[in-house]
């Protein structure tokens, strides 16, 4: 290769290098514009909600089936405004739980369209005592509703009402006294195999309609629903001394819109 040819080749190589460097510089700048942002934790839009303390039982889809239950001897005392009151109460409770659980849970409720008149009188359901939430009534009514409403062949059976819609809860609005909810104390949740195993809550109709309970009657419904999700009381059930002022503690006496689940309870349900 002659000296002239070498000069030309050098000229071309340097020219290409300089132009390439300029183009690479421009490209690098544009590339840096579109580079990936530093990765920073972003909380999930939705959480996997589960039965309190049991990750194996997912409850992102909750179905509340509500029944207004009137003992036979109280049939004439049936409250005529129970249905709109129950509908409004369930709507607000739904809003409360969806907000507390970061909109990671879908709750739908279905109200049995007519009051269910019991086959027995109040005394049968209430037993000898109505203290501690009237658990006797809860169990007796659950058993009766299981055979009459939820089992095919029952005199009040309706297929659409008995259909499985995720995590099913039976809410009994009782024309009597009491409030309570089933709480599976066993951490090894047994699972819901049939309607007889449904988590159940019972709440006196008075809490939804009577003036004296207007501030926190609704909160009681939410509190009992908390039990059906596996949440325990946050107060001493014998002395009433609270351990916290959340919904499951002393907050059960506060209006629902000013209430909340404690962070511990949220953690138990899957909100980290």
């Amino acid at each position: 290769m002659s000296a002239r040819e070498m000069r030309l080749t050098k000229f071309k190589i340097w020219g290409l290098l300089v132009l390439a460097a300029a183009l690479v510089g421009a490209a690098a700048w544009f590339y840096s514009k579109g580079r990936q942002a530093a990765p920073v934790f972003v909380p999930p839009a939705e959480y996997k909600i589960h039965y309190a303390g049991n990750k194996d039982v997912g409850i992102n889809q909750i179905s509340v089936r509500a029944v207004y239950f009137v003992p036979k001897d109280q049939a004439l005392s049936e409250n005529k405004s129970w249905q709109p009151a129950l509908d409004a109460a369930l709507s607000k409770v739904k809003d409360f739980y969806q907000a507390q659980l970061q909109n990671s849970v879908k709750i739908n409720f279905q109200i049995y369209p007519a009051a269910v008149i019991g086959q027995n009188d109040s005394m049968f359901y209430d037993g000898t005592t109505t203290s501690a939430g009237n658990p006797n009534a809860l169990m007796a009514i659950q058993e009766e509703l299981h055979s009459r409403l939820l089992s095919p062949g029952g005199d009040l059976y309706r297929g659409d009402f008995a259909t499985d819609h995720g995590f099913n809860i039976l809410a009994i609005i009782y024309e009597g006294v009491g409030s309570g909810g089933t709480l599976d104390q066993d951490s090894n949740f047994r699972g819901i195999k049939n309607s007889a195993d449904l988590p159940v809550l019972l709440l006196s109709r008075s809490f939804l309609t009577d003036d004296q309970y207007q501030d926190f009657g609704l909160t009681f419904l939410a509190h009992e629903l908390g039990h059906t999700l596996g949440l325990g009381d946050n107060y001493d059930t014998k002395t009433g001394q609270p351990y916290g002022d959340d919904l499951m503690g002393s907050g059960r006496f506060r209006p629902l819109i000013y209430n909340y689940l404690s962070q511990d309870d949220k953690n138990l349900l899957g909100i980290q």
């Binding site: 300029a22 421009a26 001394q241 351990y243 002393s250």
Partner: protein
Amino acid sequence: MTRLSIKTKLTWAFAFLGLLPLLLLGVLTLYVIDYTHRQDVATMENQLLAQKSAEVQKFLDDTAGLFEIKVGYNSSAAISDRDQKFLLESLLQNPSILEAEFINTDGQEAYKISSVQDTSFVPLANLKSFTAFQKALAGQIYFGPVEQTLSGPLMTVAGPVTSEGGTVVMVVIGKISLEPLVKTLSFANLGNSGYLYLVDQSGYVVGSAEKKYLGKNLMASAWIKELLSGRSQDGLGPDDRRTGLGGQTVLAAGKALPKQAWALVAEWPEADAFALTSQLQNQIGAFLAVVFLAVLGLGWLAGRQILRPLKALEAAAERLGEGKFDFNLDLNTGDELEELGRVINHAAADLKRLQELKEEFVFIAAHELRTPVTATKGYLSMISGGDAGPVPSAIKPLIEQVQNANQRLVQLVEDLLQVARNDAGRLTIALAPTDLGPCVDSVIAELQPLAAEKHISVEYQTSALPKISADSQRLKEILVNLVGNAIKYTPNGGKIKITHELNGNEVITHIADTGIGMTAEERAHLFEKFYRIKNTETSKISGTGLGLFIVKQIVEKMQGRIWVISEKGQGSTFSFAFERT
């Protein structure tokens, strides 16, 4: 040889001198815009954070002030029921305080009022296990975790009720709505989509204009953790450009609120923060691209424009080199190139005149020489023939030498005359339908003695050929030259073969010999004027170097073409072609 045309050089020069600075300036501009705007964004974020954090802090300080109650006596007795009622009602005058209560030092609720419910149906309880009570009883102001409710964020605040002596006589606990803080954050504007949010000591988002962010725990983020530890983020750190709560890339800054171990965070989506500059940068980028293409195009056009007269000069120089001087360069560039064109025109005219003089001289000289050398030839012939008496045997070889020398002179003069005639345009050609065969026969017969002298066989296979368009006399001159050369350059005992070939509308004649052949370099110059191959094999062969030049002139005058195929030591095949009639 590798060549770089002026056009290419000019294009490169334009590209480097025009584009490179422009490109560098463009990149620098884009970078500076990006850098300075990033700083502007951080400044705006920090100003907003400073303003809003001051508001948040003021709200919290004012609230804390309300929960620090001092009684005007110096005993450990609890406040009277009447005073409790008065004080709590006073507290509830603050719309942010939703409920408040006095707690005895044993933890028992003493008196409770609320602006959101009737507390007469609410049983009083013992709160001694509550952290809020314990902290306040210890004389501290307590800010509880923020809880999200359907009515907005709530916070428990507790403080001690102290006597003049500093004894805690009761505790006051209240529920505070943080809605005023949320409103404060809602009114904070950062472009179209920037937002602020408040994070509490546990990493929860407790205040945000976007409700969907409330309650989210961000403690898993090192960035947030660092912020909550009291180190503010200025918005210019490498991690301040990050993924925001909404999942998009944001430019984030944060200000710590050390009293509560809270933090206020500003996140401005990059797409929005850089909307204006992105548009500007795109415009600059587009402008650069257009200029880039324009400069390249202009460089190419300018190169072509400049190159045009140079091309004409190059062509003129080539014509000069070929000895063709009948041209006139017309360069109207109005610069040095036009002047150079004029000089070349003058040179061409002068050279043409010189050539004419030379040709005239050659013609006259050759013409004047022809008579004496022809006469000399005749007299020498007469002498050697004995017309002047017997020639002594000692003289005979000398006379033969003179005759040979004279013969070469005669040939040279003839050739020179031929060339001069041709150059002067006096070479007459009379094209007519001509039979090739008889011409070849005639030439072979004429040269047979020379061939026989060297024991060279001349083979010619005549065949029925169409007539060609040629001047028969000139055709013979061509054949004499080519066959004569074949004999001259073929060693004794060689072979010459003459054949014809029909090729379309042409009749091609090949004269192939088994002679010395020639190299590619020699072939390239073979038809040039006065060119002779010089090597040991040709040194003893006489010639003027004009024969093949004349042959080529004649062939071309007769609209024919001539070429040679030869390899050194492999013989040569001269071929010429004329159109058939």
